[in-house]
């Protein structure tokens, strides 16, 4: 009985806390934040509300930009940024910065030793503290320190298919989402500013307009389209091109389009292309999926090296080597983008590719591991429609053949390799031969994972292994 009491009471307490959290937080709006763009760093700080006004912690705000410290003494709060001193008094609007007096639009708040100033006061405070100009977008909660704004132009060409080309002053890395009728680019860490007008209109039926909006520390560029569209990056991230999705650009060496979201339904590839009544597409042989990306970094391989970066570099290398052999290959992501597993599988399924290769990386183990799908429970296919969870079932044998061939290619390069099954999505959702490769270092040196020489060696073996079974893979596709 005693054991039961001990083990259950924390659980009950935990459940009550969880329930309370759900009640408190359900329906709450996203946390308010202020984004800061500067030459030193781009970052966001949380915003607190006091008396209906937005406040921000001055210490947290300026910490990434220089040496800061603060000391609370009763109602007084002394703050120092590099060599600049400031003094605030709780409940008062008057403050001293660099020996001079300033008035803030609302009272200074001292909360548990933390000094909070109204965001609207930053317009007068920061130039004094930082000794330079700032630009504050109050409604969008975006703060630009110095001349860091990224301007852009957008124009739709007259060609067929129409292309919306957006040129940015610096490389950008937005999150991209598509839904029927629009394609949205969300800039969270890029200092992209309005092109002058909030609404851009283009003399084009497929891409008629775009709107620019700044809200809660982000800039959102929403492109209105009358056809499914996709975006691709070029010019080292300075150019984003939006094109109708029905006319994909698939050269082996060009940046690949970002897949539009497709609903998680599966049909045989041949049936899909003909049933849609769209023009016959140029077939992609391989879809290479660099795992993780965007908000999802994957494993932290070292302090600086993230799995998402290694997978992208290796995926690009695979695409290059496939291209050199005249084999068309498409990257599921060709930038630091957040894609769901369903989007990745849907993209592969829609492309009609003969093989899907997911790329992972690890700091543990020795050499390379190849994985084919461990199918979960289920399998209730309905006529033409396959069960999403076990869509890979009828391609399992072909996937094994491909993985075995790649394993031979790696062994021929004297790379330690192991072939396993794994419950690793989206392998089970893909309707073609599919395997995942997890590259690891050959010893303790994890930095080897980002070495061009090591990646080249592994990529050559993978491409060679796939090419050896190309006929079997193509035969199944036909």
């Amino acid at each position: 009985m005693k054991r039961s009491y001990r083990s259950r009471s924390p659980r009950i307490l935990g459940r009550l806390i969880a329930l309370a959290s759900v009640l408190v937080f359900s329906g709450s709006s996203p946390q308010k934040q202020l984004s800061v763009y500067s030459k030193a760093a781009n970052y966001s700080v949380m915003v607190a509300e006091h008396n209906g006004m937005d406040y921000v912690g001055l210490l947290e705000l300026l910490e990434p930009l220089g040496t800061v410290n603060a000391r609370a003494n009763g109602e007084h709060w002394k703050f120092r940024y590099n060599e600049v001193e400031a003094e605030f008094v709780a409940g008062q609007t008057r403050t001293r910065v660099r020996g001079g007096e300033l008035n803030m639009p609302a009272n200074f708040v001292l909360e548990n030793g933390r000094g909070l100033v109204p965001i609207s006061s930053l317009i007068t405070l920061l130039p004094q503290i930082l000794g330079g100009s700032i630009t504050l977008n109050l409604s969008g909660r975006r703060l630009f320190v110095g001349d860091v704004a990224i301007h852009f132009t957008a124009a739709v060409g007259k060609g067929d298919p129409p292309k919306l080309v957006m040129n940015f002053g610096n490389p950008v890395n937005p999150m991209i989402a598509t839904e029927p009728g629009k394609l949205q680019l969300v800039f969270t860490h890029d200092a992209v500013v309005s092109p002058g007008s909030q609404t851009l209109t283009f003399d084009n039926k497929a891409i008629p307009s775009a709107t620019f909006e700044e809200s809660n520390g982000t800039a959102i560029l929403q492109v209105t389209t009358t056809v499914p569209a996709m975006a691709s990056f070029s010019n080292d991230g300075r150019t984003i091109t939006v094109t109708p999705a029905s006319t994909p650009v698939l050269p082996a060496h060009a940046p690949s389009p970002i897949p539009p979201f497709a609903p998680p339904t599966v049909a045989p590839p041949a049936a899909a292309s003909s049933a849609a009544g769209t023009p016959v597409r140029r077939h992609v042989f391989a879809v290479i999926d660099a795992a993780h990306g965007g908000d999802e970094r994957g494993a932290a391989l070292t302090g600086q090296l993230q799995e998402k970066d290694v997978t992208l570099a290796f995926a690009r290398r695979l695409r290059e080597l496939f291209g050199l052999r005249g084999i068309s290959a498409l990257l599921a992501r060709d930038g630091d983008l957040t894609l769901s597993l369903d989007q990745r599988a849907a993209m592969s399924n829609a492309s009609g590719a003969a093989i899907y290769i997911a790329v992972h990386a690890t700091s543990e183990g020795n050499g390379v591991r190849l994985y084919t799908a461990l199918m979960p429970s289920g399998g209730g296919n309905q006529g033409w429609f396959l069960d999403w969870e076990t869509a890979q079932s009828s391609f399992d044998g072909l996937s094994q053949i491909a993985a075995t061939s790649v394993a031979k290619g790696l062994e021929s390069k004297r790379v330690s390799v192991r072939t396993l099954i794994a419950p690793l999505r989206p392998l089970n959702n893909v309707v073609t031969a599919a395997f995942a490769i997890e590259i690891g270092p050959t010893g303790d040196d994890v930095s080897q994972l980002s070495s061009a020489e090591y990646q080249e060696k592994l990529a050559e073996a993978v491409v060679s292994g796939v090419e050896d079974v190309r006929d079997q893979l193509e035969a199944r596709r036909k």
Binding site: R3, R11, A299, H360, E364, L374, S377, I421, L424
Partner: protein
């Protein structure tokens, strides 16, 4: 005019309050010192109920990336569900030990195992288990297969397994191994066989 006996009573109470305050103040330091020097007498092992039984735990070894069956004697209660929980807790204890062959994050726990007919076992991990788990395909599938194989080898008639974290469904264990699906033990056994073979 305040009666004399009331004045006396108030004076006595005041003296008592002062005395108590002084006493509490004097023992305050003693308690701190005692706490610092007295070893923790909390039991380090869970209270076990039931006779010890021989079981087979499928233990993951990071070195070599293998799964090895390992005989162990642990006290097991009579209830089927409680037995399942104790089995997995014994397995997790190995992973949390100093000489762990497959390190789990501190605070990793099995919150519970729920057995539902026909043949479904739901393993509920705590958040620390998943949040503190190392990220990687092999390291995650070693954990998953170790839990499933240990359960199915010792509790008869389990045919499907589902993993929850803090009572809720989670996309993956640590970014790789899928936790959204139900897994057939027979299919999972294929993986166990592969992992049991030396690479």
């Amino acid at each position: 005019m305040i009666p004399r006996h009331l004045l006396i009573a108030v004076a006595v109470l005041g003296i008592m309050a002062l005395g108590m305050s002084l006493y509490v103040w004097s023992i305050r330091g003693t308690v701190v010192r005692t706490d610092a020097s007295t070893p923790n007498t909390q039991p380090v092992a869970r209270p076990a109920a039931g006779p010890s039984e021989q079981v087979t735990l499928y233990v993951a070894y990071d070195e070599g990336g293998t799964l090895r069956p390992q005989a162990a004697r642990i006290p097991l209660p009579s209830g089927r569900q409680e037995r399942a929980e104790e089995l997995l807790r014994a397995l997790v204890d190995i992973y949390l030990s100093k000489s762990s062959p497959h390190v789990l994050g501190a605070g990793s726990e099995i919150r519970g195992v729920y057995l539902a007919d026909p043949g479904l076992a739901v393993i509920d991990l705590n958040a620390a288990f998943a949040n503190g788990h190392r990220s990687g395909v092999l390291v995650e599938e070693l954990t998953l297969s170790s839990l499933v194989a240990t359960l199915s080898a010792n509790i008869p008639a389990i045919t499907r397994v589902k993993i929850l974290v803090d009572g809720k469904e989670r996309d993956s264990l640590a970014g790789h191994v899928d936790l959204t699906a139900f897994y057939d033990v027979s299919r999972m056994n294929q993986l166990v066989n592969q992992l049991s073979a030396e690479p």
